[in-house]
Assembly symmetry: D2
Homo-oligomer: 373 residues x 4
């Protein structure tokens, strides 16, 4: 191999034009990519481009995907260490290449040691401005929004980073269809009130107002994860919520018990199988409160609560809460939209929606958004 | 032409095995086909089969479609008169042919003179038993369920029988997918509370409990249209409601005025564009009452209220009413299901859902029904 | 029914603007529709339109399909007699409607008594000019081109008119895709050299130069079927041949024997299963001769020989003959194009290509023609 | 990161069960992957698996793709050096994982320094037998078979490794559809007689009988590229040739000139645009000779010559040559099959067939092979 001697190293702060995707603390020297779909996008000339990274984790390694001129080019695991990834080599130096480098793995509430930091680039070209997309969309969700199951074979059941994605996700598909950029907050297994296993700490609203309330530990703290998120810095045209699937699951699970305090939590069913009225009431209140929180932080955004890709069970509960919120708040800039349930033929790995199911849901959602944006 | 001298004429009552589709008064000597999808189905041997009909109308002529062994064979207009339609000729006499003869045109509330009566068959074969399908489904709806727009070019805008159908309709597609037979009550332009133009007489609930409350006039009375429908005679596994589209439209229309009494009716919007609370309240009450009526008549059926093929506007109103009904009645055997909105590419004639839109909606609905039946 | 008193009767010759589709003798007082896809097309105002017909047959009744503004409206059997078919009623009188009335049934070499004649129209509107399509295409073929199997259930095996069509045929699909009008000569079971059963009379070339050499008997003679076809009257941009399927079949059949003369004919296989060299030689010569005949009559047309929808067996034989023809004639304005073979999932009735197979083939063929026209 | 201390290093020769894909010299200590689709497949238990590689190139870096249990997991560039790639981490140790590691980049006749060598694996599990697929298929082709254009945006025109693939290629799609394993020999720009630019050295037949006659230079020599390929070691059920596209192109290009000897070569057109007879003659002879070579080496394989994905221009030339070959050799175990031409909507990068075009061609080819295998 002949080394390209013309590569110049740029710390990220030195790159004049670089669009940062996803919620993050842009003041950090090394840019943390907390969420799937978080990443950097550049327009660059030159024959060769590398990205310099800092990668670490205790358990779950990050995966990334790379786009060139809008097309999917590659997807790979990143093992721990300080490393450079070559994005392209040998290209015609004068043309402008649009390059995207994106995290595939969701924010990891279960691995405080999981970090993916962008240090900078190495290039023999120049960086040019990146165009803004037509719309801004924020997505809030669970494993569906984390793209769990969008990679992997139908038989694969391990819970692993490689099965999650931003590259085959309805979030990306909707954003591409509408020429939108997106930010998101999502976590597999989490809900509005509690997680799939009744763990009441696993509710998305409690983390929504931080940059990345899902990333814990001291290092993430230093990386700005716990800072309040500046909602004014990026005002979405629409906020799309896709929560409820794990809250529905909780009703079928045993009580969660805090191993330290012994405190328990459970969404109960009545002996006849119907949902327990009190538990429905607190779930509805959580929906109402969360809508208020979203609205407070996004005064002008259209809010769409989407639901159904893994079953329509809570349709009445969610709409009931939304109706109460609408009447109490007078807020009418919101909608409820079912996304078609995943069929056997559309299942991906981990019994989650596969690419075909994401594509079908994305189409319905994008079509809807086109009518309101 | 050489005449087939072996044809034997059968009055319908003489045909030992004939499955009657659609709500009708089976005691009539000549069988009235009131609704689209109403018809007769026979298994018959012989080389040739004709059906004898009595057709009349003041304005709107009926259309019919014919199936042979489950496949679409033809579709045609029927002009007024006593007439025979040849269904097949020259077939191998010994094989059993499954033949369906179905009305395409909805029940015509606007043409009391519109009648399509089956007098009998002419055949040189024998009639054999017709198998029952796996499920029974009842559909209740408006122009979407009447298949308006499923035939005709995108530019066609006249309101005419030829553009309606049961042959390219989501009702048929869902029924085929589930191996179900269906009955239905639908009327273009009608709603739950009032018609698209605020006409309060044009509400489906007021006609639901008769055999065909949509067919008026003296002759239809004689044909049994106004008799109470015997719900016990055919118990559907599911009742699918697809109403709300015209109730949403009413909010955008001027008040309706009765030309005789001067009485008016209007679903109003507030100056800020939101729906008037009182008018929403009476619409919701109409939903609640109708759900009660459906349940009373179909104690064991799963009820699905579907909505969205022409816009999701009333989602919150419908779900709010359904939530009230659920709480008041304790009835939990019901669901709300959005069907994907029709896009420009999927529009048929008369700015109504075309075949592709019906197919997409049918798939989502059939997939849902498969999970509950 | 209230009769429309404003209908005026037009003999076909009186209709100022009427586009005639398909090869026919336009000098006849009653216009014979000999082939599937043959028909009349008018642009007409008024509220109502009827077409007056004369129908007869010994065995096989004609079927027709009707288009309105380019969309499929209906399809029906026509039983024998002098009859009027209503095409539309009650339309807005001032708009111009484009109406097509087309035969579905192929020319019937097996039923000399089969006639479908257009006598004229009844209308309360005016007839206006009909636009020409962008291209003219001539198709020559067998049962595939006759649309055999495009209607009917997969299990249907009778050989009957109702299973043939011009409405679901690759011929129509290709023509629509290219905005072309078409004429055709085709006959189920026939080949280049002989029929599927080795009958040497059943070769298309022997009939190609007459208006309709497939329609025999005295009455067809009077209707002009046997007149030489005036190739100069309608010069196709391309001639598409789709023959060879029955010639391949002949190699698997017993010898044909003339019941009167005792003369026999057979395309033979060698003991090892390969084709007999002499028989291949005469088949090739038939291809070469037919290409010469087509070229002689269509000096400027691009000729495409398509093949494969029911198997690729004769690919080498056909291309070998075409190569000889090319060298001998110096004619290079021709091509050979395989159309994808019908799979089990795409089969229609009578083990023939169904609608999906026709659609797939049509796409490949239309794409090809777009590159050469 | 916590290091997995249980990983055991295996040199490839130590791995008891490892299926090697693609033509290679299996006696090498480090296994060379010469062709796209060449690779290693293992069934392995354990929680973690790495593959150890040796990578080098002068200009063009190799890309690889990874499958897990048959599903696409990742695709990445490999820069020069001795490196380990982690395939999975953290999996349930007891389950058996099927892993494939495959080269994406074609054999590089233009870069003698390009090497991708598999040294071995690191695993904490055990290796188990890998099942054989149902069929064996050999593919011979040019840039289409090299998957050029299957990655990258429509506007991308650089000639680069990242745009080639075995992962989105009709070769893989056909093999998957038939449950086949494949080997292949292909080179972008090469032909039967000469390359797209008339370079007579760029003909596939001259390299077909070596393990990898496309990989030059001393190191490739040492790696066994130049050794005769042992056809008996892997007898394909079918050999699929997809050549002719570049031979067609040559007729539109200026003469090639050897910069050293001054020797020139050109496939000429006559002044009227037709192909020059002598040049067609030598092209046909090249086809005939190549068919003989393929048959000699694969006595029992069905040979299919496919053609058309980038235009049908040489259909008559190819079939003419094949007809001569058939007659001269008596060999009838071969076929000619057109694959549908790529439309604008199906184009990938570099004006080559994109994924949709590969999928359409793969379907037609797989359907054909199913009828003969």
């Amino acid at each position: 191999m002949v080394r390209n001697e013309n590569l110049k190293e740029y710390r990220l702060k030195q790159v004049e034009y670089c669009k940062i995707h996803g919620r993050t603390d842009e003041e950090q020297e090394l840019l943390p990519l907390f969420y799937q779909g978080s990443g950097v996008e550049v327009n660059v000339t030159g024959s060769e481009l590398w990205i310099d990274l800092e990668v670490d984790y205790d358990v779950h390694e990050p995966w990334v995907w790379i786009s060139l001129n809008g097309a999917f080019l590659g997807r790979q695991m990143l093992t721990a260490g300080s490393r450079s990834v070559c994005i392209f080599r040998g290209m015609s130096p004068d043309t402008v290449k649009n390059v995207g480098f994106f995290r595939e793995l969701q924010a990891m509430s279960e691995d405080d040691g999981c970090h993916l930091l962008v240090k900078g680039f190495r290039s023999d070209g120049a960086f040019l401005p990146v165009r803004d997309r037509r719309y801004k969309l924020e997505f809030i969700g669970d494993s569906i929004t984390s793209g769990e199951g969008t990679y992997g074979a139908g038989t694969d059941m391990d819970w692993l980073p490689m099965y999650m994605s931003a590259s085959r996700n309805y979030v990306k598909m909707v954003s591409d269809a509408l020429d939108a950029e997106f930010r998101l907050v999502s976590q597999g297994g989490w809900g509005i009130l509690c997680g799939w296993d009744n763990d009441p700490r696993h509710n998305i609203p409690s983390r929504y107002e931080k940059i990345c309330g899902l990333a814990g530990g001291e290092k993430n703290e230093r990386l700005g994860a716990g800072k309040p998120y500046d909602f004014g810095s990026w005002e979405p045209d629409a906020v799309i919520v896709n929560l409820g699937t794990n809250d529905a699951s909780a009703f079928n699970q045993p009580a969660w018990e805090d191993s330290i305090t012994g405190q328990t939590f459970q969404q109960r069913r009545n002996p006849d199988g119907t949902y327990h009225a009190e538990d429905i009431a607190r779930l509805k209140q959580a929906v109402i409160d969360f809508l208020g929180m979203i609205r407070r932080n996004n005064p002008k955004s259209h809010i769409v609560w989407t639901y159904g890709m893994l079953g329509y069970d809570l349709t009445f509960v969610l709409t009931d809460a939304m109706n109460v919120y609408r009447k109490e708040s007078g807020d009418s800039n919101l909608a409820f939209l079912q996304l078609p349930a995943t069929t056997e033929e559309m299942v991906g790995s981990r019994e989650h929606p596969g690419e075909k199911s994401h594509a079908r849901a994305a189409r319905v959602l994008a079509e809807y958004l086109e009518t309101v944006l």
